[in-house]
Amino acid sequence: MSGLIATLVALTLIKSTPIIYAALGGVISERSGVINIGLEGMMAAGAFVAVTCAYATHSPALGLLAGIAAGAAVGYVLAVAATRYKVDQIVAGTGINLICAGGAAYGLVVIFDQPGASPQVQNLGSAYWLLIGAAFALAAALQWVLYRTPWGLRIRASGENPSAVVSAGLDPLALRVYAVVLSGAFAGLGGAFLSIGELNLYSDGMTAGRGFIALAAVIFGRWNPLGATAACVVFGFFEALQFVLQGQIAWLPANAMQALPYVAALVALAGVTGKVRAPAADGVPF
């Protein structure tokens, strides 16, 4: 039994980590006033590019960096679309998700000549425990940055009242660009953790809605980093629970159990909204 609990705790940490990174990205972006529906795609981009780079260079560390860069690059696309072209952010994010998932599937064929999944690469090995710790440390750091530093105040102000930021002599659009690029970098890191941390390959659909679970965590966590992280741990717990129970209790419907984390996110979403308030200018082009 104690072995089972240890497994559950370890799995919860592992399963929460990619969602935490994505959710932190979601917090930064939404605090600056841009809804990032593209988190899912940025995770896929990070996961795929990390594997590709690790494959080419035989260095999982470089793969990790490349995954972060890929997420940031996709973030830049959304940032420009949201600030310069004032697009509907939901529509643009949906487009980005299709581009990234399709691009990775296309890349699997063109680069590896292997539809569906990449070949196996060397992964980060036990260094991925560092990334798990880093997720929690980053959450705390981001909490501090957002609430205790001038830069954090500016980011929050451009999500609450961008005109006030202009009055202060600053450019809210530039702040939004920084925030969304950073958001993409975080999501890319989360994706890279999935592909070369937890596993050692990229397969189609491997992000499996985690970008959206992260968005639910952002709302559940009231748009603050520590709250969102706590929500991610809850969702990660249900994902882990589903794994652990599958081997233990034969009569549980194994396939339906996999829906558990998504149901948890749905319940959380219904449970808190109405009681929480999004940043006032979240999703409103300026």
Binding site: V87, D88, G95, L98, I99, V109, V110, G209, M257
Partner: protein, 341 residues
């Protein structure tokens, strides 16, 4: 010059972008664009069977696209059409396995079951949005995964056909198959149902009080609320209908095309349909045209992949880019026309 740039911000730009990007995707995959486009066009329109497959794909896209457009007109973003298709198909397939009725009546009931099943799936998100204010984008997407796993559970166990190899129901009796529209192809009269539905929705949106309320709550929610429209009620009705239309589409795939339910029912139609709805400018009749275009890409894409070795996934990248460009289009168009920035 202004006229030219306006065209480029519109349909012409989308087509030019499509051709340029497709060419690029073909070159990267090691095929010349001439060969690639030839394979694509021959695969989409090269003969009776090809045209049939293009229209099959167009039909499968048209239902969820109409549903998505309906919700979108009410200001609601339904990205759960994939799950709604699946639930609709599952309800139709499961019912078809137990029915003992004359064919036409059975088919009607199966389509109705798909409509109700998809509607119920959409209603969950609608209820969550109306009752709790839960974000419908996240809710509808989460429900896709729930639908996929629940459907897999059911057709791996209780609903699995006795002779089925994979996760699928038993074959439907031929009397429960939708009649073929184009002999010698898989195209069923589902296409006519979809087109009729598009006409009907065009009329509903443009000419009825319900359609007016729907558009008002999408375009000016505050004004709509003050004029006495019950936004919460409209929200769940819109999301339920949106899901029901997609579910009906799932049922037509089962009765018209696969002749049984299979968890692989949709290769992402629910997501491509978002692009279809947006390219069709959320107008049901234009969506029919867009569905035909994307149907060509779907069926031609398979041929392109087989004969020219260009991965079909390139098409999804391009769909995404089209969505992204269309999202920016309105802004570019106003700027070109000298409107407010």
């Amino acid at each position: 010059m202004t006229r030219l740039s306006r065209w480029f911000a519109g349909p012409l730009g989308a087509i030019v972008l499509l051709v340029v990007l497709m060419s690029l995707a073909m070159i990267v995959a090691g095929t010349s664009p001439v060969d690639g486009f030839t394979a694509l066009l021959v695969g989409a329109l090269g003969g009776r069977n090809e045209i049939g497959e293009t229209l099959v794909a167009a039909t499968a896209l048209l239902f969820p696209a109409l549903g998505i457009a309906l919700a979108f007109r009410a200001g609601l973003f339904n990205i759960g059409a994939e799950g709604q298709l699946l639930v609709g198909g599952l309800c139709a397939g499961a019912l078809g396995n137990v029915l003992t009725l004359p064919g036409p009546l059975g088919i009607t009931l199966m389509l109705l079951a798909g409509f109700i099943g998809g509607g119920a799936w959409g209603a969950i998100a609608g209820w969550m949005k109306a009752r709790f204010g839960a974000n419908e984008i996240i809710a509808t997407l989460m429900l896709n995964f729930v639908a996929a796993y629940v459907a897999l559970e059911l057709v791996s166990g209780p609903l699995k056909g006795p002779l089925a190899a994979g996760a699928e129901t038993a074959w439907l009796e031929p009397k429960y198959w939708l009649p073929t529209l184009l002999p010698g192809t898989r195209l069923s009269i589902a296409l006519l149902v979809a087109l009729a539905l598009a006409l009907f929705l065009q009329w509903v949106l443009a000419r009825t009080v319900f359609g007016y309320d729907l558009r008002a709550s999408g375009e000016a929610p505050e004004a709509a609320r003050r004029s006495g429209i019950n936004i919460a009620r409209l929200t769940w009705i819109a999301l339920t209908l949106s899901g029901a239309i997609a579910g009906l589409g799932g049922a037509t795939i089962v009765t018209g095309e696969l002749h049984r339910f299979n968890t692989q029912l949709s290769p992402g139609y629910g997501f491509t349909a978002i692009a279809v709805a947006l390219v069709g400018d959320l107008q049901p009749l234009w969506i029919c045209l867009a569905a035909f275009g994307f149907g060509m890409l779907e069926s031609g894409g398979l041929a392109m992949q087989a004969s020219a070795q260009v991965p079909k996934d390139a098409i999804h990248v391009i769909e995404g880019l089209i969505i992204l460009v269309l999202a920016a289009r309105r802004y570019v168009a106003t700027r070109v026309e000298g409107g407010p920035v």
